[in-house]
């Protein structure tokens, strides 16, 4: 911190510079725009100086990596020790096909798996459900039972990889299947490492794969917290996600605010369910987006980390430093990528991946150049993975911790994002917390407004998207897009029919009624669900039981 005198000196010098040099230059060469601002409406000044950091106290507000408030990162040495986990989200077709893709990715140097499920699986329908028609295996792998899960991880040692599963409403069931497969491989639960997304609140506002209403959904989540804290200690029980919120149209500030507000709601719920904050909070993880504005995004990660640390320490009185740490996965911003001139996307992804690294991410997915066209081809995924590897091994960006700290601009942005996010969180608190704000449609409306503003700005040309609304060329239609084999659905149906005829149907019935009883009562559901999946009850069957007890969610939309 500089003394007041020194700041005043700088201020005077700056004013003089503005009066003399700047105004002279502007009178001859006007600036490109009357006002520069980020997508969050943060006005960007011509230059930043020590004046902008006046209130900042280095030791309290910035500190050192691995120490409260973690502005500079959650580990003391960050990537000097080990690079982030390179984790490409993948999956399509049936379990066999995805198994091949995962083995390929691991052979290419990817260090963790990230499973994409198809929509029927995510919404709790088996592949033979009428509503699954046309959707089986289309945007992820179809998993209807433990039998499919066994094929999916065939030959992949579950004690050696960390697996992230993007599964929310039926997260408990897929986790149960993972535990059961591991057991068959001889791997005990406490050796498992991975993440389930398990973040239902953002499904209601941004992602759409909800099944049950909020109250029973929150109960499923806290049941998982409790079960894992006792039995699967290395499992990340939730990935509180801003990624989807941003993709649905939110600004950077909204991404931070709504994600942390959701986080607060989960912590509240778990405490209410009788859990001790320091027992479950260390296993909470986060998931953020990296859009195009380089410095804002880096600042966003730093602000989120600092804000969460304060929330956990001050609001929830957590004592364990691990509870204060915001660990996060990052994915580059799909909605920034264009169908036009798709190779340009490689460049966008490079910038965004760099942001995540400069922002201290724990793991990273880089999107493929064919993002706006179809699921990525193998070639495109390889380039995306190579992008991360080039940043890691060649750029030097990973050689020092938090390299942008101390930049007047980045520090000022970090403060500003934190401040604005906090204002939103206050507003949401006033509405009664995130679940209430969602019920009222407040969060959805804020996101939709931002999405529409963005669309209008792109259409007016106020926002330039290179190759899309400026610098266009005549293009050939894209070739060699990935196509999912439509035979998958039939194959899956046949597999299900076989399973249902071969399994012990009495055991299934008993296990399902166990789930039903537990759902109606207050016991932890996990052991019952594990028993049901081990009996080869299908995902759809377990979900049907839960639907009959819990009811189903109706979206609340205000356009």
């Amino acid at each position: 911190m500089l003394s007041k005198d020194e700041i005043d000196k700088i201020k005077r010098a700056r004013e003089e510079w503005e009066e003399k040099s700047v105004s002279k230059t502007i009178s001859r060469f006007p600036e490109r725009k009357p006002k520069f601002a980020t997508d969050s409406g943060i006005v960007v000044k011509r230059v930043y100086t020590p004046e902008d950091l006046q209130g900042q106290d280095y030791l309290n507000d910035i500190g050192f990596p691995g120490e409260y408030p973690y502005t500079r990162g959650v580990q003391p040495t960050m990537y000097r020790g080990r690079f982030w986990t390179m984790r490409q989200y993948a999956g399509f077709g049936d379990a066999e096909e995805s198994n091949v893709r995962y083995k390929y990715l691991l052979s290419q140097g990817q260090t963790g798996l990230s499973i994409a499920f198809d929509l029927p699986t995510q919404i709790g329908y088996d592949s033979d459900h009428p509503l699954a028609e046309g959707e089986v295996g289309k945007v992820g792998v179809a998993i209807s039972s433990l039998a499919d899960m066994e094929v999916l991880f065939d030959g992949i040692p579950l004690d050696k990889v960390s697996t992230s599963m993007t599964i929310n409403a039926p997260a408990a069931i897929l986790l149960a299947m993972y535990i059961a497969v591991a057991e068959k491989q001889g791997v005990p639960m406490d050796k498992l490492d991975g993440t389930i997304q398990n973040d239902i609140l953002k499904e209601y506002v941004a992602r759409g794969t909800y099944i049950f209403p909020p109250a029973p959904s929150m109960r499923l989540i806290t049941d998982i917290f409790e079960f894992c804290s006792k039995n699967v200690p290395n499992w990340n029980t939730i990935s509180i996600s801003g990624y989807h919120i941003r993709e649905a149209g939110a600004t950077a500030v909204q991404e931070v605010a709504f994600t942390l507000a959701d986080g607060i709601a989960y912590v509240d719920a778990a405490i209410k369910a009788g859990l001790d904050v320091d027992e479950f909070a260390p296993r909470l993880s986060f998931f953020f987006n990296a859009h195009n504005n380089l410095f804002q995004e880096v600042a966003k990660f730093r602000a989120a980390r600092r804000l969460w640390a304060k929330i956990m320490k001050e609001r929830f009185n957590a004592k364990n430093p691990k509870s204060w740490q915001l660990r996060f996965h990052t994915q580059t911003g799909g909605s920034t990528l264009t169908a036009q001139q798709p190779d340009n996307n490689i460049v966008r992804v490079t910038l965004q991946a760099l942001e995540a690294v400069l922002g201290g991410t724990q793991s990273l997915h880089t999107n493929s150049r064919d993002e706006a066209l179809s699921l990525p081809t193998e070639d495109s995924v390889r380039i995306a993975l190579r992008t991360q590897q080039i940043i890691a091994y060649e750029s030097g960006a990973a050689d020092t911790v938090d390299p942008l700290a101390g930049s007047y601009y980045v520090e000022a942005l970090t403060d500003e994002i934190e401040k604005r996010a906090m204002e939103y969180i206050k507003k949401i608190d006033d509405l009664g917390g995130a679940p209430k704000a969602i019920e009222k449609g407040y969060i959805q409306k804020e996101i939709q407004d931002a999405a529409y503003e963005y669309q209008k700005a792109v259409e007016s040309g106020e926002i330039v998207v290179v190759g899309m609304n400026k610098f266009q060329i005549e293009e050939e239609p894209p070739k060699n897009l990935l196509k999912v084999d439509p035979a998958v659905a039939e194959k899956q149906k046949a597999r299900l029919a076989r399973l249902k005829s071969e399994r012990d149907n009495n055991r299934v019935k008993e296990a399902l009624s166990g789930v039903e009883k537990a759902a109606k009562g207050e016991e932890n559901l996990m052991p019952y669900i594990i028993e049901a999946v081990k009996a080869y009850a299908t995902l759809g069957e377990v979900c049907d039981v839960l639907r009959s007890v819990f009811g189903v969610y109706q979206e609340s939309v205000i356009l």
Partner: protein, 314 residues
């Protein structure tokens, strides 16, 4: 297609088309309705009104489903505001009625207010007549729900349900006078939320001070979203229906509504007469004169209806 025949045969496409044509003020539509007007009078009309977001659409959906379960045929007309600037509208009530989309007993129509004030849409009344002709047993009319006084519904429906929710304290105070007269039944929805009982009690107390008629409105708590309390509302509707029919209020109310309707139509007719007898240029000319203070608006308004006045006297 032969719309008239379609309507008689129970063809839903004909019903949908006739509503569109009538809403657009098409003469062919009015001709059909005139011919079939004798078929009206059988449907029972239920108004659903209340501040924005209290759960009107959700409640309507559940009531409709309950009646459908009893084998009744239901029409629903859901009104939403039209933007005065663009003429566009998002008609958002249907989204709460997803479960009814494929129920063969139920027909839902969303309508933009299209400049009409008072809580209904321009075409609501005529759409009600058409659904009545079509043979609906019950027709639910959800008002625009902008929170202002939406008195028109009481001049249209046989039973008006005022829907409220906890946490509207000040709103209730503000609407007091208005709502007490409009509601035949009061529903406090979102009873799963804190303060529902308090709200219900407040309303009850207000009603005690408002003993104008012999019908004492019921106050019912519901959780529409979870289908709770729906049967109580249904019974209250039936009870109110019985009350007004037995007491003769039904007949006089209907007459009163017909009077309102005639007057409203007459107003519309006069307006359209004026507009047909007056070119845009003529009107602009008059406006100019008033703007320049050459004449005053009061005289101008008399001037432009002179041609019709002549017609009427004749």
């Amino acid at each position: 297609m032969d719309i008239k025949k379609g309507i008689i045969d129970g063809d839903r496409i004909a019903l949908a088309k006739l509503i569109t044509m009538a809403e657009d003020g098409k003469k062919e539509a009015m001709d059909i309705i005139k011919e079939l007007y004798h078929r009206t009078g059988n449907a029972y009309l239920i108004g659903i009104t209340g501040p924005p977001g209290v759960g009107k659409s959700t409640l309507t959906a559940k009531l409709a489903r309950a009646y459908s379960g009893l084998g009744k045929k239901i029409g629903i007309i859901a009104c939403d505001p039209t933007s005065p600037y663009t003429g566009g509208a998002i008609l958002g009530d249907r989204i709460r009625m997803q479960e009814l989309f494929t129920d063969p007993n139920i027909f839902i129509r969303s309508m933009g207010s299209r400049g009409h004030l008072g809580g209904l849409s321009r075409g609501t009344r005529v759409a009600v007549r058409i659904m009545d002709i079509f043979g609906m047993d019950y027709i639910f009319i959800e008002t625009v729900g902008v929170g202002q006084s939406e008195v028109e519904i009481a001049d249209t429906a046989d039973t008006t349900i005022m829907v409220l929710a906890p946490g509207l304290g000040d709103d209730i105070q503000a609407m007091k006078a208005g709502i007490m007269e409009i509601g035949d039944i009061f529903v406090v929805n979102k009873a799963d939320r804190e303060g529902a009982e308090k709200t219900a009690r407040e309303i009850d107390t207000m009603l005690d001070f408002n003993e104008k008629s012999t019908w004492r409105p019921k106050v019912i708590m519901t959780v529409a979203q979870d289908n709770k309390g729906i049967n109580d509302v249904l019974h209250a509707i039936e009870e109110h229906m019985k009350y007004i029919k037995d007491s003769g209020i039904f007949a006089s109310k209907r007459k009163e509504h017909i009077k309102e309707e005639i007057l409203e139509l007459a107003t519309q007719n006069i307006m359209s007469e004026i507009m047909t007898g007056l070119s845009k240029e003529e009107l602009l000319g008059i406006v100019d004169k008033v703007a320049k203070r050459e004449i005053d608006p009061y005289s101008a308004s008399i001037d432009i209806i002179k041609p019709i006045k002549g017609g009427i006297q004749k």
